[in-house]
């Protein structure tokens, strides 16, 4: 009998507090993620991006509203930001209010360095993650001169150091669930600007996110002009491949611990292959992420592919040493294998993961040059490199 009562008490407590806990969670969501109702502020104009599906911008009398769309639930909004320049304006209750132009920013996504550089706002970065993996020379110099603080692992950034920096906002990639770091920052009153450009499925759509970040620096027009040039350059290169009669076949990705991740047919890479005049096995596939395959499937589906992009090895020798099965691929036999290591630092920085987002035309040129060199006789590779 002695031990019976505590158990009853226990079960009651679990029940009561579990319910309480769930309610709390719900309230938090309601406070941060809601579908915004029509409000009394009059809308002046709305900017719907030409390619990107993940955001749009609304101009009101006294403020600008940026809405980040939720890629995991159609029609839902992931985040709302009300950007103002004048402290006296009345702002809507929904959304995160941020005074612009931003004077300081922590950036937890390497892809935005180039956007910020092109907008001449790179000097506003006061903190970033994984300093040793950064390629951008200006950021590296900033880290060395201690103008920029390295906040550690991007998935587990140093909370205390970030708070001590007191940034005006934090720019980070959004995922389907909120992480501990973002939650902490929001609680501390530091706005978190979520970007979802990685969910876009074409190179131009990704590049168009420069318009999103530009609003936070009050540089919309400048971003429009930069993007228009990017678009023109990209489309003019794409034009070069339209008359190709025989499209060469291509394979992508690499083997990681027995699983070979290849791009889905609706992915950014598949779009790039299509625009470069290449024939990709999964071109009609609907998936936008990666597809995990075993080596047997890869050999069956891609054994005869003539070109291989995104290989992890540096040389054919390394490839053969890693696994002799690699030698069975037609692309390896023809020595048509490329990695993304043309611009790297000894400590692991790779510009492919940084500036390529802002230069989709160069990514396209790389592929065209590798497969149809006669179309770009004077071009030299930017991001990709043929295996030694």
């Amino acid at each position: 009998m002695q031990v019976k009562n505590p158990i009853l008490l226990l079960i009651c407590c679990i029940f009561c507090f579990s319910i309480n806990g769930c309610k709390k969670g719900k309230n938090e969501v309601a406070a941060t993620k809601t579908t915004i109702k029509q409000d009394e502020f009059s809308l002046d104009s709305k900017v719907i991006p030409k390619y990107a599906k993940g955001f749009h911008i609304e101009h009101f009398d006294s403020f600008i509203r940026v809405k980040i769309h939720n890629p995991w639930a159609e029609g839902e909004i992931y985040a709302v930001y009300n950007l103002y320049t004048n402290d006296t304006v009345t702002l809507p209750q929904q959304g995160v209010n941020i005074k612009i132009p931003l004077a300081s920013l922590v950036v937890n996504t390497f892809a935005y360095f180039e956007f910020l550089d092109q907008l001449s706002e790179l000097d506003k970065i006061t903190g970033t993650s994984d300093g040793f993996r950064i390629y951008n020379p200006k950021i590296r110099a900033g880290l060395q001169e201690e103008r920029i603080v390295d906040l550690g692992n991007p998935f587990n950034m140093n909370i205390e150091k970030t708070l001590a920096l007191n940034p005006q906002a934090i720019l980070t990639s959004a995922y389907a669930q909120r992480d501990n770091y973002s939650e902490r920052m929001i609680q501390a009153g530091v706005p978190v600007i979520y970007n979802l450009e990685w969910m876009e499925n074409s190179p131009l759509a990704r590049a168009e996110w420069i318009k999103m970040i530009a609003v936070f620096f009050d540089k919309e027009e400048m971003a429009d002009s930069i993007f228009n040039k990017i678009e023109w350059r990209y489309l003019s290169k794409k034009e070069k491949t339209k008359d190709i009669q025989k499209r060469h076949t291509v394979m992508a990705g690499d083997n990681f611990q027995g699983t070979w991740y290849v791009p889905g047919g609706n992915s950014f890479n598949a779009a790039l292959f299509r625009d470069a005049g290449l024939d990709y096995y999964y071109k009609n596939d609907e998936r936008s992420g990666s597809i995990g395959l075993d080596i047997e499937t890869v050999l069956t589906q891609f054994g005869n592919a003539e070109y291989w992009f995104g290989c992890a090895a540096k040389s054919y020798k390394e490839l053969a040493e890693k696994d002799p099965k690699y030698l069975l691929f037609e692309a390896v036999k023809k020595k048509h294998v490329f990695n993304n290591n043309n611009r790297t630092t000894p400590s692991g920085g790779n510009d492919y993961f940084e500036s390529a987002i802002a230069y989709p035309d160069l990514l396209l040129c790389d592929l065209i040059k590798a497969v149809y060199p006669h179309l770009l006789p004077h071009y030299t590779f930017t991001y990709i490199k043929e295996l030694e």
């Binding site: 031990v3 995991w72 205390e160 150091k161 389907a176």
Partner: protein
């Protein structure tokens, strides 16, 4: 008796010292005066207030709760199974919690999205609890049918292996970003518990710990073997059920909030028994609670040592502390 009281008093003093040290140390340079002001009012600087009061303080309290809870859960398992290497995770409950979180992180962007967005920041906690409960029910179901505790131990470990196997399968299908989110959870983090989550963690853990104090006599009887305990009138099946429920509750809750934290639960009960020179649970239970808290808070301080600008995963720190002790136990008891 006097010696024991003195030892308890000393341990309490150490706990208070490490607790204060934990609050006053960290990556951000904050003076003791500012830290003190932030703790009991305001330092005049909102950033310092935020770091000390909303970051360091809940983290230190979580360390105390998690250390005490996991250690006492380990003690319960070691006594029930009469196995010195048993820990809170042997029932497979931690693995079940891990499976819940793995499901959430890998399917959170698709199949489970509406549930994830409804639960917000509580999603991981709820997923972990939802993963731990089926394992607990399985173990309870088995324990009511099986006489031998060792069989329950073996089955608990098998449930754990199955849950871990399912996690591996989910991981093999997951995209790299979801995978990273899950891997970070497995590193363990004391800072994930914010003030709004603290009441739930504290109440569940403290309730479990209070319940353990009512188990002193049955636990002492179990030390002499189940047959002897039964001969002096102990209802073995019922006691076993209660011990398993409390262990699962404590372990599941802590794992849900902080991620899986290894070693503390295995090592601390041995420490407590060795330090006080007794196996009597009247002494060992409070000793385990205090020592567990001291170790976890100390590990939190160690994890703040700046190495390449990031905090060390708490799971790694506890393991680095715990491993030498496990080796000591194994060497000391050659029969293992």
């Amino acid at each position: 008796m006097k010696h024991k009281t003195r030892l308890f008093a000393l341990l309490m003093v150490i706990l208070v010292i490490v607790f204060i040290a934990d609050i006053f140390t960290g990556n951000a340079p904050i003076s003791i005066k500012d830290g003190w002001n932030a703790l009991f009012g305001t330092s005049g600087n909102a950033i310092i207030d935020e770091i000390v009061f909303n970051y360091r303080l809940p983290k230190a309290i979580t360390a105390i709760l998690a250390g005490a809870a996991l250690s006492v859960a380990g003690l319960l398992m070691q006594t029930l199974f009469r196995n010195p290497l048993a820990g809170p995770d042997v029932l497979g409950v931690s693995a079940g919690a891990g499976l819940g979180v793995a499901l959430l992180t890998t399917l959170g962007g698709s199949a489970l999205y509406s549930a994830v967005s409804w639960l917000g920041s509580m999603a991981q906690v709820v997923a972990a609890i939802a993963g731990a409960i089926p394992v607990l029910l399985l173990i309870l179901g088995v324990s009511s049918r099986i006489k031998d505790s060792v069989t329950i131990l073996v089955l608990g470990m098998i449930f754990g292996y199955v849950a871990n196997a399912l996690i591996t399968i989910l991981q093999s299908f997951a995209d790299p970003d979801s995978l990273k989110v899950f891997v970070m959870w497995t590193f363990g983090s004391l800072s994930a518990v914010t003030w709004n989550k603290m009441p739930l963690l504290a109440i569940l853990v403290i309730t479990g710990i209070i319940a353990v104090f009512f188990l002193q006599k049955p636990l002492n009887s179990l030390l002499l073997g189940e047959q002897y305990a039964a001969s002096i009138g102990l209802n073995i099946k019922q006691t076993r059920r209660i011990i398993i429920t409390i262990t699962a509750l404590i372990t599941g809750t802590v794992t849900a909030f902080t991620g899986p934290i290894a070693f503390v639960g295995v090592v601390i009960p041995h420490f407590a028994r060795a330090l006080f020179g007794t196996v009597n649970h009247k002494t060992v239970i409070p000793a385990t609670l205090i020592l567990g808290s001291i170790l976890m808070v100390t590990c939190d301080i160690v994890s703040q040592i700046p190495i390449s600008n990031q905090t060390l995963p708490i799971n790694a720190v506890t393991a680095v502390f715990g491993a030498p002790m496990i080796i000591w136990i194994v060497v000391k008891r050659k029969k293992l």
